[in-house]
């Protein structure tokens, strides 16, 4: 059913701006969502992601800019005449209609023949695995089932794109994980373009082909999960997606394209830097899972970074253990280690070395002026 049409654009936003009174909800957003992709908009509450979604649906009109559906300008077209459908945050199922009537609602309005409505609704209920519930009322279904009805009701219309507004927010953690997989399965099965709004970075990473990170009405970065996680374009993206250790350091020495900071005997921080010069202040970031912990007695290894410290706190988190280490440069660094015999041995007060590879660290933009807590 899904022919790869990666080149075609399902939804395009061109310089879209939206203001509510004195508050600018969306400023100058330009983005293209490709046909068939799972596209997420991720950001804290109030970042403009929901407004952007509602602009696509037509519930809000942009103050400036254009919205294109499959290349056609739909700015000003009311929501009932746009070929996109939405899954609402609290599902918005019609309480006075059965599951079947809910799902058939859009088709009936399009005056699809009765026989076809019946067939398509049943097919779609099968896709979302709700066979046999068509006579029930939404109030008689569990949260997860209601979620599936909402999906079916939107997808049965074969929209250009399916817009989902934090659809899993009301579910408990376990069900949420299950539904993430379900959503992805359905999306692959039908090949429909999904535009997914969430504030949960894990959710976005788990499902998306591409993620747009939004902050303050701006898109900070668009990229695959790996890109935004490993090569965040801005400090905000780096901080919002995943946990991050930030180190403000001064370059002591440059070896080729590697900047080196000596922080003590046997201790140093290295990072790839194209045009750093000795004396520059840099803000360096390292993900906790990239930092390994060695006992003090361990031999000096490799060319990576190595930083001494004392374990301040140990938190056991199931699959891994979180270590908070007060380093010799005065910054508390967090390290995540998968649990094994070695992690079991470490406890608060232990003297340790933290180490990470050259490519595990990256430089955050715009740190030159603000750094300074490192002597």
């Amino acid at each position: 059913m899904s022919t790869p049409r990666a080149s075609r654009v399902a939804i395009g936003l061109e310089g879209v701006r939206k203001r509510f009174g004195s508050i600018t909800a969306v400023r100058q957003v330009t983005l293209e969502i490709r046909e068939g992709e799972f596209f997420s908009m991720l950001g804290p509450s109030g970042c403009g992601k929901t407004t952007t979604l509602r602009l696509m649906a037509g519930f809000e009109e942009p103050d400036e800019g254009r919205i294109l559906l499959r290349g056609v300008d739909v700015t000003g077209v009311p929501p009932n005449r746009r070929e996109v459908n939405m899954v609402f945050q609290h599902y918005a199922l019609f309480p006075h209609m059965s599951v079947f009537e809910n799902v058939a609602f859009g088709l009936k309005l399009r005056r699809v023949a009765r026989q076809e409505i019946r067939q398509r609704v049943m097919e779609m209920l099968e896709v979302v695995r709700l066979e046999g519930t068509e006579r029930r009322r939404p109030g008689q279904l569990s949260g997860g089932q209601q979620q599936r009805v909402a999906l079916a009701r939107a997808l049965v219309n074969r929209p250009t794109a399916l817009l989902l507004d934090e659809p899993l927010g009301a579910l408990d953690v376990k069900l949420r994980k299950e539904m993430q997989l379900e959503l992805k399965r359905i999306q692959l099965e039908l090949g429909t373009t999904f535009v997914y709004v969430t504030h949960d970075q894990e959710e976005a990473l788990a499902m998306s082909d591409r993620i747009a990170i939004m902050n303050n009405g701006d898109v900070e970065q668009i990229g695959s999960g790996r890109e935004v996680y490993e090569r965040p374009a801005t400090t905000f993206v780096a901080g919002f997606v995943g946990l991050l250790n930030e180190l403000d350091v001064r370059v002591d020495e440059v070896q080729g394209d590697i900047a080196v900071m000596r922080t003590g005997d046997d201790e140093r921080v290295v990072v790839s830097a194209d045009d750093a010069r000795p004396g520059d202040r840099l803000r360096i970031a390292v993900r906790p899972e990239r930092i390994c912990i060695e006992e003090r007695s361990a031999p000096h290894t490799a060319h990576g970074s190595r930083l001494g410290g004392v374990i301040a706190r140990v938190a056991y988190l199931g699959t891994f253990t979180q270590f908070h280490v007060d380093t010799s440069i005065g910054i508390r660094v967090t390290s995540h280690r998968l649990n094994d015999e070695r992690t079991d041995m470490l406890s608060a007060g232990d003297q340790v070395f933290l180490c990470w590879g050259r490519d595990d660290a990256f430089i955050l933009g715009g740190a030159g002026s603000s750094g300074g807590d490192v002597a």
Partner: protein, 283 residues
Amino acid sequence: MTDVAISRRGLRVLKACFGLLLLFLYAPILIMAVFSFNDSITVTFPLSGFTLRWYREFLSNGELMVALRASAIVAATSSAIAVALGISAAVALVRKRFFGKGAVSGLLLAPLVIPYLILGISLLILFNAAAIPLSILTIATGHVVISVPYTVLVLVPRLERVSVSLEEAARDLGASGPRTFRSVTFPLILPAVISAFLVAFTLSFDEVVVASFLAGDQVTFPVYLYSQLRFPTRLPQVIALAVAVMAVSGFVVIGAEIGRRIADRRLATQLASAGTPETRGIP
């Protein structure tokens, strides 16, 4: 926002409907106000000059003043009793679990949907059968029956908004049941108690049907008014009185509403700062 409920033209039409309805509702009152200052014994056009005579006259009408006083007594007594009954019933309905809750609330709210005429004659028969002479006290007795449902309806939602955990905290800190009610629950529902009293008071002050059946020699203000209206001899005076009463009750209503708003907002902030479950976020 693209309004999914009303189009721009629809909004204009509905606004016009609303305006027309307000005109329909307020025009008669305005006409009354105009004629209350009209210097003529008949209420007819053309108008014949400004006067305050009718206001002076009703103020010096002894019979009327006595009726007003009787109404005030009836209203104050009946609403005090109704509020007391309402509070204890509301606390039981909201805080306690017991068998037959539906039936109890049904009984307490039933007078709301029973025509007052039936309540009036049934109490008339009761007092006659028990050989209790009719007086303003029998009227007050009847007005309590009418007012109880309203006090329950005003108090229950407010009580529901006061989190049980506040009372549990007080109990936990050593307060007895009555003490908890006095120093935690009651202060928090006080605004509702006041508005329940006001609702019951206005209800009783304006009630004519039950009062007509249960009045002895001393009639209340609405009963007096009713007799004046059936056989109008002093119409301009009654109109002036009507305008005065409407103005006063208008102020009371608006004042009570503003007060309730302020109190509600205060409760909301109090509850928010107390961190009751409904406002507490996910940890």
